[in-house]
């Protein structure tokens, strides 16, 4: 373990990015990522000349500290994946600012910044190129960023990464279809780690795996965080998994973050009615707790993101909704000790 650590830090010096040093003083330097008023709209064609904006992400702000894991939960279609992709600039945002390590991300510098931010995807089957060997997959980013001069050095690094994620180096010449889901996810993680990123977006990275394999990968994410000082944005719909992984959790509903707080805090004292029902709806793998729990079952379905209700988007399903909720969007404010909530009535 220690040997591995030493190796890695040694390598980190070699591959240090040129100059992404934070120089704008107004930003909190504890934060690796600062997202301010991020929005991403997609135009959906509704007719020959008409289109409607689909507000996948609407005015979202949050930050992630160094070595921290921020969990992002919500139901399908709430925009959590879009957040991840917008800040990687895979979907250029409609508006808003993203600062990475103090530097504002834009069209121009995103390519060089991606050396420090990587992504691990949900589906380990479609996110790996079936025509490439494991070595090519993991080494691709190393070649793109021209990190090593010789093939041999690069191969050494690939083997080292494979060892780090628990794969045998004998597997390097194999193709991805020869591996199980969990092993493929390991390949995906090795690929993300190849260029020593500081920040990784994990987008439903364990949802496709069986429970017994899921724990292996979750533990690996945690170990890698300790070893390599990584920060994560951990996107998932499984609240128990996010709770296990995260230091803080953000809850999204129809394109907006409705609540953001420390994991313990949001579990014990959820303020927003949506958070409350979402967390109470989770089936707890413990019969005694399950028998006692007062599940808050919400009425109805999530409205279409094309026709988001006015004011607070949750008001159509909210038991506490008042007239104000229809008229005005609640502000996303700090209720003390970094517990952010957007609700008029709580």
């Amino acid at each position: 373990m220690t040997d591995e650590k030493k190796n890695l830090t040694g390598l980190a010096d070699d591959v240090k990015p040129d100059a992404s040093g934070p120089d704008s003083g107004k930003l909190d330097l504890d934060n690796i990522l600062d997202v301010r008023n991020l929005s991403k709209y997609f135009d959906i064609k509704t007719g020959f000349f008409s289109s409607l904006p689909l507000k996948a992400v609407d005015d979202v702000s949050f930050f992630i500290r160094h070595k921290e894991t921020l969990g992002l939960v919500g139901e399908s279609g709430c925009g959590k994946t879009t957040v991840g992709r917008a800040l990687m600039w895979l979907y250029p945002p409609t508006s808003g600012e993203v600062y990475f390590d103090g530097e504002r991300i834009s069209e121009k510098n995103v390519r060089s910044l991606r050396r420090n931010m990587q992504m691990v995807f949900q589906d380990p089957y479609s996110s790996l190129n079936p025509r490439m060997t494991v070595e090519d997959i993991i080494g691709e980013s190393l070649s793109i960023h021209k990190i090593f001069k010789t093939k041999k050095e690069q191969r050494e690094r690939v083997y080292e990464l494979m060892r780090l994620v628990g794969l045998n180096k004998e597997h390097a010449t194999r193709y991805s279809h020869e591996f199980s889901g969990g092993q493929r996810q390991r390949i995906g993680i090795a690929r993300a780690l190849a260029i020593n990123p500081k920040f990784i977006v994990c987008d439903e990275s364990v949802s496709a795996l069986d429970v017994s394999i899921q724990a292996q990968i979750l533990n690996m994410f945690k170990d890698l965080q300790d070893q390599l000082n990584l920060s994560y944005l951990f996107i998932a719909h499984d609240i128990l998994v996010v709770t296990y992984m995260s230091d803080r959790i953000a809850v999204m509903y129809l394109g907006k973050i409705v609540e953001l707080a420390k994991t313990d805090e949001i579990n014990k004292n959820p303020i927003h009615p949506y958070t409350e029902s979402l967390f109470s709806a989770v089936p707890i793998p413990d019969p005694r707790t399950a028998r006692q729990s007062n599940r808050i079952v919400l009425e109805g379905d999530v409205p279409s993101p094309l026709h988001v209700p006015s004011g607070c988007a949750f008001r159509t399903r909210c038991p506490y909704a008042t007239e104000q909720c229809t008229l005005e969007t609640p502000p996303f404010e700090d209720r003390g000790s970094e517990h952010f909530v957007a609700c008029w009535n709580r």
Binding site: E75, S76, S180, G181, G182, Q183, D210, V211, S212, I213, Q214, A215, Q216, L218, N219, K222, H237, I239, L240, V241, T243, Y244, T263, D264, N267, S277, L278, S280, A281, V282, P283, I284, P285, D286, P287, T289, A290, R295, V297, L298, D301, V302
Partner: protein, 345 residues
């Protein structure tokens, strides 16, 4: 001996693929009583869904039941003709599937599809059929039934579609409802709605439910009894409390340690080592042995028998045999040659 509602005995189902015979279900037996909720839990490839399909006899092509009996109220379902079986399905046992989109026909309205089920399985005629459809739609908590019957599946959300599936399954008030991962494709808040609905209906009609899922949370919440499956065999069965609070099979123990619990804690998950089940290359002994930390020599050589530990609880694990032998040293021969890795549950 009292007659069970459903009794599965020594059921084996195989898929005859080009790569060889895949034994998806390997001689399992279980019973289901009236009005009980039985959970079958396991990961992919454990044979839980194939068990359900075998009972309903809806296995797709290379799959075939190769042995055993499935008795419903004493009648062996495997001996029924196709025609008889078709009548039986839906009338006595219904099934709902994971993906409500692919299980509904996209070119017929909801009403049409419900009507069909009612027409085929009941003696209702003409107007009565539609009336029953409307009643069922109301029953599963879909508002405005009159409008909904005219809609097509694509106009409904995932949760709504699953409700329609449930309505259809209930059309003839079956004795058993098999729910095969009914909420896996749904969001948490919708999942909660559907689980509550199944619970309500189960109590209302007193039907038995077989709940098949990989989600231990769902199982904990819904079931009276639980069967844990691994690689086509039953490794442990018992009441919900037996399984969750005193698991006796190494796989169950490990499974419970590998899932995150509700509260945030710094306790690490203990993953199950190794790779998932490969049904084509099953080991000779216990199927879980290659991944088991407590595995002994015998585990690799001989598959364990299921041993009753209490009236409700039984498990198929050599570790229990070893522990028993250690505790009863005097009256037995030498204990099985155990390696280290003893565990106190």
């Amino acid at each position: 001996m009292a007659e069970y509602l459903l009794q599965v005995e020594n059921l084996s189902t195989s898929f005859f693929t080009d790569a060889g015979e895949v034994k998806a279900v390997n001689g399992i037996s279980f019973e289901l009583d009236k009005g009980k909720v039985l959970g079958i839990v396991g990961e992919s490839g454990s044979g839980k869904s194939v068990t359900a399909y075998s009972i309903m006899q809806i296995l797709s092509f290379p799959g075939r039941v190769t042995g055993g009996e499935i008795r419903f109220k004493g009648k062996d379902l495997l001996k029924l003709s196709d025609k008889k079986m078709r009548e039986f399905r839906g009338e006595s046992i219904s099934i709902i599937f994971q993906d409500p989109m692919t299980s509904l026909n996209p070119v017929y309205t909801i009403g049409n599809q419900l009507d069909e089920a009612i027409r085929l399985h009941t003696s209702r005629k003409g107007q009565e059929i539609r009336e029953r459809s409307l009643e069922l739609i109301g029953l599963v908590g879909i508002n405005d039934p009159k409008r909904r019957v005219k809609q097509y599946p694509h106009e409904l959300s995932g949760g709504m579609r699953q409700r329609v599936m449930i309505a259809m399954a209930l059309a003839c008030e079956p004795d058993i409802l098999i729910a095969d991962e009914p909420t896996t494709a749904l969001d948490v808040t919708i999942q909660a709605q559907i689980l509550e609905l199944i619970k309500d209906l189960q109590q209302q009609f007193g039907m038995a439910v077989i709940m098949i899922t990989h989600d231990l949370g769902v199982i904990a919440d819904m079931c009276d009894e639980i069967i844990v499956m691994y690689a086509g065999s039953i490794c442990e069965r018992g009441t919900t409390d037996d399984i969750f609070y005193s698991p006796k099979h190494e796989y169950t123990k490990n499974l419970l340690k590998s899932i995150p619990k509700a509260q945030k804690s710094d306790e690490r998950l203990i993953p199950i080592a190794g790779n998932p089940i490969d049904l084509l290359n099953l080991p000779d002994g216990c199927a879980f042995a290659p991944r088991c930390k407590a595995a002994m020599e015998i585990c690799l050589e001989q598959s364990p028998e299921e041993i009753a530990l209490s009236e409700t609880h039984s498990a198929a694990c050599w570790v229990n045999v070893r522990d028993y032998l250690i505790n009863h040293k005097d009256d037995a021969g030498a204990p099985a040659s155990g390696t280290e890795g003893g565990d106190q549950a």
